[in-house]
Symmetry: C2
Subunit: 642 residues, 2 copies
Amino acid sequence: MDSHGKNHQKEHKHDDDDVSLKPVTLSKYSKRVELKTLLERSDRGVGLVGKRVVIGGWVKSSRAVKKDSPPPPQPPVASAVTPPSNSSNHQASTTANISCTEMIQSKMNIFRKLFDVLSGGGKTYPIFDKPELAAHKTAKPPEYVIYFMISDGSSVSNLQVVVDSTMSSVPATQLMALGTCIVAEGVLRQPMAASTKYVIELEAEKLLHVGTVDPEKYPLSKKQLPLHILRDFSHFRPRTTTVGSVTRVHSALTLASHTFLQYNGFQYVQVPVITTTGFGEMFRVTTLLDGTNDKEEKKHVREKDGFSIDTVKAAIKEKTKLIDHLKRSDSNREAVVAAVHDLKKTSDLASQLEMKQKPKAATLVKPEKLDFSKDFFGCEAYLTVSGRFHLESYASALGKVYTFGPRFVADKIDNVRHLAEMWNVETEMAFSELDDAMDCADEFFKFLCKYLLENCHEDMKFIAKRVDKTITSRLEATSSNSLLRLSYTEAISVLQKTTTRTFETKPEWGVALTSEHLSYLTDEIYKGPVIIHSYPKAVKPFYIRLNDDKKTVAAFDLVVPKVGVVITGSQNEERFEILDARIREFGFTSEKYEWYLDLRRHGTMKHSGISLKMEHMLLFATGLPDIKDAIPFPRNWGKLNN
Amino acid sequence: MDSHGKNHQKEHKHDDDDVSLKPVTLSKYSKRVELKTLLERSDRGVGLVGKRVVIGGWVKSSRAVKKDSPPPPQPPVASAVTPPSNSSNHQASTTANISCTEMIQSKMNIFRKLFDVLSGGGKTYPIFDKPELAAHKTAKPPEYVIYFMISDGSSVSNLQVVVDSTMSSVPATQLMALGTCIVAEGVLRQPMAASTKYVIELEAEKLLHVGTVDPEKYPLSKKQLPLHILRDFSHFRPRTTTVGSVTRVHSALTLASHTFLQYNGFQYVQVPVITTTGFGEMFRVTTLLDGTNDKEEKKHVREKDGFSIDTVKAAIKEKTKLIDHLKRSDSNREAVVAAVHDLKKTSDLASQLEMKQKPKAATLVKPEKLDFSKDFFGCEAYLTVSGRFHLESYASALGKVYTFGPRFVADKIDNVRHLAEMWNVETEMAFSELDDAMDCADEFFKFLCKYLLENCHEDMKFIAKRVDKTITSRLEATSSNSLLRLSYTEAISVLQKTTTRTFETKPEWGVALTSEHLSYLTDEIYKGPVIIHSYPKAVKPFYIRLNDDKKTVAAFDLVVPKVGVVITGSQNEERFEILDARIREFGFTSEKYEWYLDLRRHGTMKHSGISLKMEHMLLFATGLPDIKDAIPFPRNWGKLNN
């Protein structure tokens, strides 16, 4: 397969003088043209007819037509694996150029049988083993024109690529399987058959690379899998059109966030992930349990004959000395790591040899009592719950700051709105109060909606078709109206007034609003996003500013239909005495929050900020029902793939 | 202090009809004008003379002039705390309007004495207790015009704010201390004294808020602290002009990275921080050691009289049932967290009561043997070392992708180039080889240099003055030249040829290049950044593509003078058999890398990518010598503040 790539490079050099043979190169840092640059031009690519290009991508669908048959009447469906037309031996022999869709309609049972054979049939391709076809193995194989729909993920659109089966050393069935990677060079032309779907296709002249799939093991080749099954294959699922589109929308939201905030004068600040401060259920970060994870690797160290345990121990001593020397002499990390790696291999060998002597000895470290002063940082360390504490430090110097990073909660909850690792955009503004934070949330949220409408047209169209028809109108309505703001007290009063509905948690002043309450308010009463502010102090964290009524705090949530809270925000307590008292009220120790209290001791000011939950925003924007589909590699209680 | 803020708001409403009294509001989400919008206009603010504004910021320097004295002849120095002119009782009585600089020059000893009293003298302000001044306490205090230099962090520039001491209820000394937060409303005017430094100043009419500092405890009030001392106060150091500028440059680099990559067709992908895969020394993420960290909190739960252990236990049972119910009913996280928090308080109370019965019982969990199948994720979990593995999965579907996130190495190294938590910009490009990755690194790196020159003029000027005079010329030279590329073999040969220098690690083919080698090549031989590629396979990780010589791999480093490696890059192995063999060659198990191998089983293609170390880039751009100053909250072996 690789020799193709080589030829390609050589040919390029050779062709340098002949302009007509030189491929158009419109893609940076990649040896092919991105399909987006061909298909998303205003002329949909017509102006490029006759140009030579190299494209690369993955097979979305394919079908074969016997040579000298007329060109196919319509494009194939994008979602199914299409068998090559040598399926003709299954009664379809008279209609070699039949499309997959038609075949499904007319010969469903036959197709299913064939499909099973194709996708689950092991490493060989059994249809070629049928008596009629076996002859082909010795004789000349049948010649087909194969029509591929190829996606390269640069946009939702696919390019039709026409390949002559004689061009390939890989059997047609293998070439045509869903997910096969193809790099082809050829000339852009208008399709032979009239089509309303696309105006150009590629007539391939050579295949530069083919990366096959193993249909026995490739999960996506089975059938169009529902999103919840795809989650078990998070490394493959971006190859589906839906997850591809969602990822591009996610990417757009990220750029839109940076753009909005920097344009409005916010400075980006890199807040840490490992921290000493936090609250709630947190993940601990440690290196104290080292040794337990080497077990597996040790099993695989191959024993070297003739090495005595003493020789190996002497080598360990020497290598340890070298590492100490490298560390002292401020060498670069790589040299140290290489030396450490080398040492590790040697000491693994030593353990291996020692284990042979005492085969029953346990390799597990047994931490009788953990001493965190001996841990990596010399103290207990956790994964951050929120970046706003650290942001406050920088807002107290730079005014308006923001960050974007992972936040972790170790709550043992597994539902469609919860992740153990989420990514938040957080801001903090000096000289700012609750209403400023609500303004910021309101405008930021609407900007993101508008940005998607203006910049992700094709992907939003596809997601609307596949996931939720209402998303476009929802985003349009949201981006053009100011959001309703009501206090928690008003919200409770609205909930209490309802006669049509009973709630599991009775809406009484003082309770935390449940998802059932929020859903009733946004889905049924206001039919759109609302901001709820001024919560009872007991249902929000200790650091939020106490209002003058001493009962409520200056916090708010931006709540949207179906999803729930997308943005939280608050004016945090700037008064030393009150913050100090509230820390103790919650049963925490002031020592842990000394540096945070420091910000109130010296040059304190009113300040507020917001926290946008990126994955929840994506749920709102796409209509996806489960948050596990709004992040590439979800991390959840009891589940950690990859 | 807060009543000021309140008045402010009320007055705004009151003034709504009187346009002449209405402050100019140019800042979003904050109740003041950002200084940048006043000072960085092309007219340096002259066009705003006569406008009413509210500003907020922190005192950088200050000095007092007795009322009815002529205006001060020149602006104060920006870096020192200036005593008020009631220092006049220390021989300076005849020159009440003397500037701090002059005073330092003429009366150094006296100034020092006064300075010590001011900055270290406890909570009262002893200079007022001198016999001469004690009288003022009962009589009318002396009246001063105070000249502040105020910074709000929106830019490197300060605004001079002129305040009449009678305006403030806070004593002048307290008001004038370095770091005091001041929100003032007033009118912009041209300075009374001719100045070349600035063309507008603010004549304050009211102080809306004062956030004092406690000079006894405020570290920055002592003197101008060197960077390595400031590191102990990472929550305060952005208030220094240097760290403020470095932060703004960091922010610009972040936006520039997203802009460059998205403009060039890369999609942002959110790769995970918690992972199962990796190599080298890694941090473990766990919740198995829970309980050990509750110790402290339990100490502080106040015992409620009259609660028997049985009452409390019954309450725990009820509350646990409620939580189970909430979790099952898909409630929002907040409700669950509130309930869990409530339960925790109750069960802490229970422990407290039980401990009273058996005061010697240990509260530490003693994990005799850790069973990671019982850990949060049901398996062993680590903090990610690199995002490129996960990016490869998305590049195999979307073509060109990138990410920006924290990367962790638990190597016990503490030097000026190493952090345990670093932030990298990583890319992965499908259909791309080593030379494409080098092109990407080259252009990305130069784009960042150019971006800073064009967008951070004022901050770069300040950093050049304070940290490294050569940075501007270095960035200019870098951004306009193509980077030299040489192979590892060529680099070794250059190192071997030197006669003027001996290296601790002898440059022989096969050794990892040390920082000493890299420094010699970039600082002495090429005097600028170079790209070194095609390293021996043993010094690079297992996943890098094996070259045809079977001895080297397709990796490169972009190395810059003084700093070392800023970008690493590689074409990773796309051939299943070779990757599988190399995993075993390194002593790892294939099982751990199954999903990564999967990408080679199904639709594989050539691909390459880069990894830019953001903090190292910032070192290159600013000339800072220690990486701990290139990230707000550095995480290092044996050290974890905040």
